[in-house]
Symmetry: C2
Subunit: 144 residues, 2 copies
């Protein structure tokens, strides 16, 4: 007989996390306790899934588990903690954007290096040179 709610297997499939991770998140209180059916099995409600999706999103943007736990604690204390939660999210957003820009810069420099490699290849075309500019076996790495 099908009971209300999704099994852990279904929930895991829906939110894209493993069953182990779902149990783990519940254990460490990243999500509120999930209800059980008559035999003690978890039954996920729509709201449970929304929680999980939200947590997964925060994780995907690199928020540490400890910070998410803080957020969840606040959420469980009720609506009067909304300002603090807002602050947390806002701080996270800024941190992610900062790192985002940093990665962009690094990536740009790496692309420059790729360009240099490309030019090296073009120049060396069919030459099969083992020798490098400066005498014996330069490491030849820092091209850029």
């Amino acid at each position: 007989m099908t009971v209300a709610g999704w099994t852990i297997r279904e929930a895991a499939g829906k939110v894209g996390l493993s069953q182990d991770t779902l149990r783990y998140y519940e254990r460490i209180k990243l999500v509120p306790p999930v209800g059980r059916d008559s035999s003690g099995y978890r039954r996920y409600t729509e709201e449970d899934l929304e929680w999980l999706v939200f947590v997964a999103r925060l994780r995907a943007t690199g928020m540490p588990i400890a910070d998410i736990a803080t957020f969840v604690k606040l959420a469980l204390r009720g609506n009067e903690t909304v300002p603090q939660r807002l602050e947390l999210l806002e701080a996270h957003r800024q941190a992610v954007e900062a790192q985002w820009r940093e990665v962009r810069n690094h990536l740009h420099l790496i692309q420059t290096k790729i360009g240099n490699y490309r030019r090296m290849m073009a120049a060396t075309e069919g030459l099969d040179t083992g020798a490098v500019r400066e005498g014996q076996a330069s490491t030849s790495a820092p091209v850029s």
Copy 2:
């Protein structure tokens, strides 16, 4: 008497990694062996620093140490491995860009949530409501 090259302390400062990390990277061959002075102390050359900066860049964009090690092995084998190195870098670039876009999407959704919180706050202005829509103590989390 000052000898040629920088000490590990200076090198660490210059490239923004810890001394421990510099030794660690050398141990696991993320960088070619660094020369020593008469008393066995490391002396970093300009080229050593360039290596380190490059490795740091790859790390900063999330390339796993194992992959960097592969790259370095290729580089040490000489110029004929340039095509393979290029391929590695190119693959990495694509992976980073993909993840970059994913994070941007997640961030966007989180911002939507922030917006919803903002609206909640505005609506609740000075109301001090402990009650939430649906009966007893909704977790109130999945606002978005």
